[in-house]
């Protein structure tokens, strides 16, 4: 079986490699057609014709000329080394009576126009930077001519044959282009730095704007090379980098979905994920449900659809945070919009880049659990306390096991047949491994005047730290931008991926066994292999080996996406663009439970196959307008109509009762029972009209944006249309006259915005009652299956939009020549008509109903700061940081006040945490409180003396409290956990529950620096959360002092005894606590050093020798440091990340990895 899987993996690998080679081949083809090769010619006194032929040959350009004309040419001396076409031509034409034009791969030679009667002069000068230091390599060009030179190392230039009335242009990257009329000595010319940050283009949805002209709260991120190469998906890349964007992992497995919440959750249901728009194509939600083929209690790790986009292809990420920015996306804007723009080619010769890196990962934190010796002592202690014979015996360094109670003979130290010798096993070492991953990518980009291209291919082989898990993915991307005519622009993007994901975590978080998944088994199993004699029931049958050998979760996914847009310039003021885009994803997920796992044992092998076909396409028609209407008033705007169509179909087949198990996920044909479920269809459409106007007064001093969108959604029956207006104003205070005196201020912009956005991310058909044949069946008297049709949900035809109204006030600033820049925003969002799954009485036959009920408020502050602390030519130090605080509060839930534990609340309870383990729901959604507050029992250490738990009864006598909540614990004993009788009625029961914690952080933050010295760069990123609590549900197993589960060493060492009273761990054999108490609520504040990178750019003389372009090597450490008091694997685990009703719970959380990455990036 192992071989077969290996073979399958190899096959996929081979296909991916072939794809990769193909892409590489295509790219080289393309690059050959790119801009000029380097030209090398040395010749004295040759004819111009001959010289041009050589240039033509080397550059690949066609050079046209009239041969009778060319005879007039003077002989030329040329000395070209690695010159480009323009430089070569300039040398040839220096002093010739000709001029030339370059157009679309052809050079046309013409006689100089006779009407140019101007005298030709020689111009010289020196170019310096803002500090007066000479600038090397500034292009000095005659305007509307190709004639140009570069400045030398002292900043000087000489340009000959300059018409005396010419205008000279001085351009240099990072500086503002300067124009001066020609004269023979221009003296010293000083160039001014561009305020690059303010001129960066920011994508705002259906258009772009300059960063300096933004009116809404938008944060941008341009991933660095190493960031692109070392992250597996774009959402993880955002972690800690942008104020107010909270990225959390549901599980740390490769390929698992990541939850991104912007400015607090607006909705009390699951899907609070932002809208992702990749190259203008809106994507399916990352929080979309991926139903399990198995029973409802099975939890299937959600997969991250964004993995199909290689982060190396990302040019920029723009995060639209406030409603004035997102309202243009209307119904999908409420949770924020993340616009991802992929790399485009730039005019010039082909730039080829190859990168490769390899990662070594290992488990970041292990739990310290009992070894076999302590475990045996722990078990024996329980038996002694319970008055039953012990099973474990010690002889020398041997630990011997005699299974009591199975009728086996009693332990006899001299008869080896009466015992098994146990071998200590650290299951965490068995389950987790040191993983080695690799990542390779190749890209080529370039272009001519009218056409640019970007092509890339990448391949990743990510191994997970859980043995057997991993993600292999091959991606490609091609972008072509072309000016078809003067008026018509084409933009074509195509991308795709093939991936195979093997997840080993497994599913059954809620199932009534302690063996729900690999993590649980690695932690809870006895620290040795149980002798077969002792295997009395299926709960003991499962071991870590079962998960490694008997569980498979293999998904293959093929994704193809493309978008085509045509933009037609109608006039100087008007343009029209039409854009078509689509994403098509086929995914085939097969999960297999063999017979040593509970779900497999329950049905004699259990195979579930889900074939998912998702596609969505979008059509946009935009009419744009852009005009300086009066000298002080500029207006641009768009009017548009769009249509988005999302289709999803999931076909689920389950197979069970196998005779032969060896084919695992491929063995459907071997199942004796095959069930085909009703396919899960979820199609929906959104039709929209939108408009936006940008008003620009006094050259951008006063800016206003007004937008409006009307969305029609197929998901609603009665109230299909939603209307989403927004207004934002900005005032560039720095441009006011009174600010001139504050010369240190480079930017000071005040923004204020208001807008309304919606949310419609409910399942389609929520307003229609229909029947499925999946939920039940019946039989005739011969035992033949009869198909049965059931109504599966209570439909609510009155559903309408969830609406979020938000206000934002922001200030952007930059001081001291932009050395310090940043922004501060305050916001308030009110969400009304919350779409929520209301728990309804089970007497309805259904337990929930989707309703528009209640309202929620999020408000907060965000600060982002960035400083160029040192900015010299050799040393640069940039420090940046962000911090955000969000306060969420439920304003109403549509429920009358009722008794919840010790409080009277208008509230509803969250989802159950774990059927057989925790009886209660952990979260509560109560008016006046943050969403998802932990609700349960307070405890107060250990009962040292029964007098500690007395109360005064109604008749005035002192009585001992009773506990009705712990199994068998009606009368607590000394050494038991002491509960707080909150209402003082003498009995600790459900009426004593109260607020015991908050899963929402007080604030989130991130900071980092980048220090470069010459060719070295070192950078570090930190992020963290403060004032956040998590429910460490794992304590159910690991903090017990009863049962057969393994426990933490620290718990074992601190068990209460009459001698050891200064402890919070109860006595041995104290009943398991199955209610939610403050004992499982932990402070999960943390600070993580997520990234530490050293990179080094190889010296030019070295790379030149190897004929390479810019080449750098780097070494990155990920997750090397974590500061937290949290005792689980990782404080960020959120086991039910996409389930709004269960928040901040770590249930069998998968361990995070720490990694070391070594990579190289070569320019070719």
């Amino acid at each position: 079986m192992v071989n077969r899987i290996l073979y399958a993996h190899r096959k996929v690998l081979m296909i991916m490699k072939l794809t990769f080679i193909l892409i590489v081949f295509i790219m080289f083809q393309a690059s050959a057609e790119g801009y000029a090769q380097k030209i090398n010619i040395t010749a004295q006194n040759v004819s111009l014709e001959k010289a041009l032929k050589k240039i033509g040959k080397q550059s690949g350009y066609d050079i046209f000329y009239n041969s009778s004309l060319i005879h007039k040419a003077k002989l030329v001396n040329i000395n070209l080394k690695d010159a480009n076409l323009i430089e070569a031509l300039n040398q040839c034409f220096s002093g010739q009576p000709f001029s030339y034009t370059v157009d679309d791969k052809t050079v046309v030679i013409k006689e100089k126009s006779p009407n140019i009667q101007m005298a030709l002069i020689q111009v010289k000068g020196k170019v310096v930077d803002e500090k007066g230091n000479p600038l090397l390599g500034v292009t000095v060009k005659i305007k509307q001519s190709q004639q140009a030179v570069s400045t030398n190392s002292v900043g000087e230039f000489v340009l000959t044959n300059v018409p005396s009335d010419a205008i000279l242009q001085f351009s240099f990257i990072g500086y503002q282009t300067k124009e001066l009329p020609a004269k023979s000595n221009l003296g010293t010319i000083q160039l001014e730095l561009i305020n690059a940050k303010l001129n960066e283009v920011v994508v705002v949805g259906y258009g772009t704007t300059k960063k300096g002209d933004l009116t809404g709260a938008i944060s941008s991120l341009k991933p660095t090379e190493t960031e692109g190469e070392t992250f597996t998906s774009v959402d993880r890349l955002l972690q800690g980098k942008i104020a107010g964007v909270d990225v959390s992992t549901t599980t740390a497995q490769p390929g698992a979905a990541v939850s991104v919440i912007i400015r607090g959750a607006n909705s009390l249901r699951g899907d609070n994920q932002p809208l992702y728009v990749i190259d203008n194509v809106p994507q399916q939600s990352t929080g979309a449900t991926q139903p399990s083929p198995f029973s409802s209690s099975d939890i299937q790790t959600a997969q991250d659809p964004l993995v199909s986009l290689n982060p190396e292809d990302i040019e920029s990420i723009d995060v639209l945070k406030d409603a004035s920015a997102t309202a243009i996306y209307g119904s999908r804007g409420a949770n924020g919009v993340i616009i991802i723009t992929t790399k485009k080619g730039k005019k010039g010769r082909a730039k080829i880049n190859a990168s490769y890196n390899t990662t070594v990962s290992s488990i970041a934190r292990k739990r310290d659990l009992l070894d076999a010796s302590d475990y045996a002592k722990y078990q024996n202690a329980q038996n002694v306390a319970g008055g039953t014979p012990v099973s474990y015996y010690f002889a020398g360094n041997q630990i011997r096991y005699n299974p009591v109670g199975t009728g086996a003979p009693a332990y006899n130290p001299s008869d080896p047949s009466t015992y098994n010798v146990l071998q200590d096993i650290d299951w965490q070492n068995v389950a987790y491994q040191t993983a080695v991953s690799e990542n390779a990518a190749l890209s080529a980009s370039g272009g001519s005047d009218n056409t640019t291209y970007y092509l890339s291919g990448g391949f990743k082989n990510n191994q997970g730290i859980a043995r057997g898990s991993g993600l292999k993915i091959g991606t490609f991307r091609a972008t072509l931008i072309s000016k078809l005519t003067d008026r018509l622009d084409l933009n074509l993007v195509m991308g795709g991926s093939m991936q195979k994901n093997n997840m080993s975590q497994g599913g059954d978080n809620l199932r009534g066994t302690g063996n729900g998944n690999l993590t649980r088994n690695a932690l809870s199993s006895q620290p040795f292999l149980l002798p077969s004699l002792a295997i009395a029931n299926d709960e003991n049958r499962t071991s870590v080996y079962s998960w490694l050998n008997d569980y498979d979760d293999i998904t293959t996914t093929d994704n193809f996406n493309s978008s085509l847009s045509l933009k037609y310039k109608i006039s100087d003021a008007f343009y029209y663009s039409v854009r078509l885009g689509g994403v098509d994803t086929y995914s085939d997920r097969a999960r297999w439970f063999g017979t040593s796992l509970f779900p497999g044992y329950a049905t004699n092998g259990n195979l579930g196959i889900a074939n998912t076909h998702n596609d969505n396409y979008t059509i946009e028609n935009i009419l744009g307008f852009n005009k300086q209407i009066t000298p002080i008033f500029k207006f641009d705007g768009i009017l548009g109509a769009t249509y988005d169509d999302y289709n999803s179909l999931i076909n689920i087949v389950t197979g069970s009762n196998f005779n032969i198990y060896s084919l695992t996920t491929d063995g459907l044909a071997l199942a004796n029972v095959v069930n085909v479920a009703t396919p899960i269809q979820s199609d929906y459409q959104i039709g929209s009209f939108l408009g936006r106007g940008n008003f620009d007064l006094y050259d951008g001093k006063y800016l206003a944006t007004v937008s409006f969108r009307a969305d029609g959604s197929s998901k609603f029956q009665k109230q299909k249309w939603g209307y989403f207006p927004a207004v934002a104003l900005a005032w560039k205070i720095d441009q006011e006259d009174f600010m001139k005196q504050f010369s240190f201020v480079d930017q000071l912009k005040l923004r204020v915005g208001w807008g309304i956005t919606g949310n419609q991310s409910i399942a389609p058909y929520s307003t229609i009652s229909d029947y499925t044949t999946s939920n039940g069946s019946y039989a005739d008297s011969n035992g033949n299956k009869l198909i049965a049709a059931n109504t599966t949900a209570l439909a609510n035809p009155d559903l309408k939009w969830e609406t979020t109204e938000s206000y934002n006030l922001g200030l952007d600033f930059a001081f001291l020549k932009n050395r310090i820049s940043g922004s501060i925003d305050v916001y308030r969002k009110n969400t009304t008509n919350l779409l929520l799954d209301k728990s309804i009485p089970p007497t309805n036959g259904f337990t929930d109903l989707l309703v528009n009920e209640g309202s929620l408020r999020n408000q907060g502050v965000e600060l982002a700061l960035s400083g160029d602390v040192i900015r010299t030519s050799t040393v640069k130090l940039t420090i940046s940081g962000n911090i955000a605080a969000n306060r969420a509060k439920i304003l109403s839930v549509g429920q009358p006040p009722a008794q919840f534990g010790a409080n009277t609340l208008s509230a509803f309870a969250g989802g159950p945490v774990g059927q057989s383990f925790y009886e209660d729901n952990a979260n509560i959604f109560a008016v006046g409180y943050a969403p998802g507050m932990f609700y349960g029992y307070k405890t107060d250490g250990i009962i040292q003396n029964l007098n500690d738990i007395t109360y005064t009864a109604a008749d005035g006598t002192k009585k001992t409290e009773t506990y009705s909540i712990i199994s068998g614990g009606a009368t607590p004993k000394v050494g038991d956990v002491k509960f707080v009788d909150v209402n003082g009625d003498g009995v600790v029961n459900a009426n004593d529950r109260t607020f015991i914690g908050n899963p929402n952080p007080n604030f989130t933050y991130g900071f980092g620096y980048s220090l470069s010295y010459k060719k070295f760069t070192m950078s570090t990123t930190f992020y963290g959360e403060a004032g956040v609590q998590r429910l460490n549900a794992n304590d159910y197993f690991e903090n017990q002092t009863i049962g057969t589960y393994n426990i933490k060493q620290s718990v074992y060492n601190s068990i209460w005894t009459p001698q050891n009273t200064n402890t919070t761990t109860p006595r041995i054999g104290a009943s398991a606590i199955t209610v939610i108490t403050d004992r499982v609520i932990e402070d999960a504040s943390f600070l993580r050093m997520s990234d530490l990178t050293f990179s080094y750019v190889l010296p030019d003389n070295f790379t030149n020798k190897l004929k390479l372009g810019r080449t750098n090597v780097f070494i990155t450490g990920k997750n090397l440091l974590l500061f937290t008091k949290y005792t689980g694997y990782d404080p960020e685990v959120n086991s039910f990340g996409f389930d709004g009703s269960r928040q901040g719970i770590d249930w069998n959380g998968f361990p995070n990895a720490k990694s070391l990455i070594i990579g190289i990036n070569v320019g070719l």
Binding site: A641, G687, Y771
Partner: protein
């Protein structure tokens, strides 16, 4: 010229924009939902065959895990006082003294019963509006199923919210009705069923008029049992019972061999009044979990089995003492020992194993299925069978003063039991016709527990005559020499010491609690609506 061209272009493009948009979605259909892989009420109720699918849905819920597939017999047997369950979370066998009712089978049963009721309500409503020619019979079947659900609710949970119309978003919260109101609804539904059902059915998995009348007799018998000797309901029970006798022509069909009733291949027993069919091919939730729930470890080759649920030692011992050598004991219990299905090795159980370790109990056998795969068994489940009917009619006749008729009924059941083996066993010996009314009352009380144990009736049987009779069971249990206070130790395998007759304890034991999930969400319920003691 240029200006003109621009204006024309603008117009062209504006119209393109509008046309483009219209092509995209102007037609209203573009924003209409059209699920094509599911059925809806319009398509489902146009012909009898597809309406049958929806009716199968009602049966499916009734037979699923939430009701007869598992939860009902779990609550009924483990919570009766005669069952034993390993000390874990859901200690039903503590006679719900420590069971908080927040989880487990008590909740599962509540949810399962109401899910079935909802499907029936939707079906009855939709079928009623349809023009199907056989709708009266279809509705009668669904009404019978609903009656069964409310019958279980009334006698396990007491007064509950009554839902008799399809659920709507506006009517989610319904107040608690009294137990009497719920019983009235059961009777009303059974009368509707009786009117619409066929006189007989070829297979008793479809209810007939006989099934409806027999159920009516049982409901009044339970009501009368609770009210005691002078209750008017005894006579009403007799009225409906008489209808059953008449429909059967005076002879009540019993399977000749008690053990064969529970043979996995016996799918069409004549003794069945109403049964549920199971298929091993169903696999959603609709399989019989009886074998999985109760059969002991390694008793099946391909099944999963546990040692954590069985009969209490006291009940088993009492049965053996009352009827030594009764063939029903071997058919009801795994006792002494049984073979490991895989290895053939002997696994000892009670009374061979007596110390409180695993296997220290006799295990239930009636739903044992040697062919069990994983949790799945397709054994037929008897909701109601004629031996049950005979014994209850015996009680009815005894209370009405017709002791000799009562003895005849009882002896039919006992005779069948003795003749289940060859040669016939000596026990259970017939009841003498001279028995007095009180002794016969006691005898029938015990006999119903013996005859029907594990079949999902024990909870009601143990409580039908009130706390005094229930305390017989607890007293017997606590009289076990080795019964210890189970809660007090960390040994999970001990017998529970059941509560003795104190008002607080035993009253709580009479009814299962309304689950917190209902109390917390149903705004029409008050905290005081919870059953006493919880």
């Amino acid at each position: 010229m240029l200006g003109f061209k621009n204006i024309v272009m603008k117009k062209i493009l504006l119209s393109l924009l509008i046309i483009g948009s219209c092509v995209n979605f102007s037609c209203k259909n573009a924003l209409l939902e059209n699920p094509v892989y599911t059925l809806n009420q319009q398509t489902l109720f146009t012909d009898a065959a597809s309406a049958q699918l929806a009716l199968n849905g009602c049966y499916a819920y009734l037979s699923a895990q939430g009701v007869y597939g598992q939860a009902l017999f779990m609550v009924s047997e483990m919570g009766s006082g005669i069952g034993w369950m390993k000390k874990t979370g859901d200690e039903l066998s503590s006679l719900n003294i420590i069971a908080s009712g927040g989880q487990g089978s008590v909740v599962q049963l509540w949810d399962g019963l109401y899910q079935t009721i909802a499907q029936c309500n939707i079906f009855i409503d939709a079928a009623g509006k349809s023009s199907l020619s056989n709708k009266t019979n279809l509705i009668a079947q669904a009404t019978f199923i609903r009656a069964l659900c409310y019958y279980n609710l009334a006698f396990i949970y007491g007064g509950v919210p009554l839902k008799i119309a399809p659920p709507t978003p506006a009517t989610t919260d319904v107040p608690k009705s009294t137990k009497q109101q719920v019983i009235n609804q059961v009777v009303a539904d059974l009368l509707v069923a009786e009117a619409g059902l066929n006189a007989t059915e070829s297979d008793s998995s479809v209810p007939s008029k006989i099934a409806a009348d027999a159920m009516l007799a049982k409901v009044y018998f339970l009501v009368a049992s609770g009210e005691g000797a002078g209750s008017a309901s005894w006579a009403i029970a007799k009225t409906y019972g008489t209808k059953v006798f008449e429909a059967l022509g005076g002879t009540v069909p019993l399977e000749s061999n008690y053990a064969e009733l529970f043979d996995v291949n016996n799918r069409t027993s004549k003794e069945s009044i109403f049964k549920l069919n199971y298929s091993a091919l169903g696999l959603n939730q609709d399989f019989n979990k009886g074998s999985w729930s109760f059969s002991p470890v390694s008793s099946t080759l391909k099944g999963t089995n546990f040692d954590n649920k069985g009969s209490s030692r006291a009940f088993y011992s009492y049965f053996k003492t009352q009827h030594p050598g009764d063939p029903r004991i071997a058919a009801t219990f795994f006792q002494v020992n049984y073979p490991n299905a895989a290895t053939g090795a002997t696994i000892n159980v009670y009374p061979t194993v007596t110390t409180y370790i695993q296997n220290a109990y006799p295990f239930f056998k009636k739903y044992y299925d040697p062919n069990q795969v994983g949790q799945i068994s397709n054994k037929t489940y008897y909701v109601y069978r004629y031996a049950d009917f005979l014994l209850l009619m015996a009680d009815v006749e005894n209370e009405l003063g017709n002791t000799s008729t009562a003895v005849t009924y009882v002896n039919q059941v006992l005779t069948r039991a003795r003749n289940s083996v060859t040669p016939a066993a000596a026990q259970p010996a017939n009841v003498v016709s001279t028995i007095d009314q009180a002794d016969l009352r006691q005898f029938i009380f015990d006999e119903r527990l013996f005859e029907l144990s594990e079949e999902g009736h024990s909870f009601m049987e143990a409580r039908r005559r009130g706390t005094a009779w229930l305390s017989q069971i607890t007293t017997r249990n606590n009289a076990q020499a080795d019964a210890i206070a189970g809660f007090a130790t960390s040994n999970n395998w001990t017998e529970y010491l059941l509560p003795t007759l104190t008002i607080g304890n035993i009253t709580k034991a009479m009814l299962m609690p309304i689950p917190p999930s209902e109390l917390n969400t149903n705004t029409a319920l008050k905290a005081s609506d919870q059953n006493p003691g919880y």
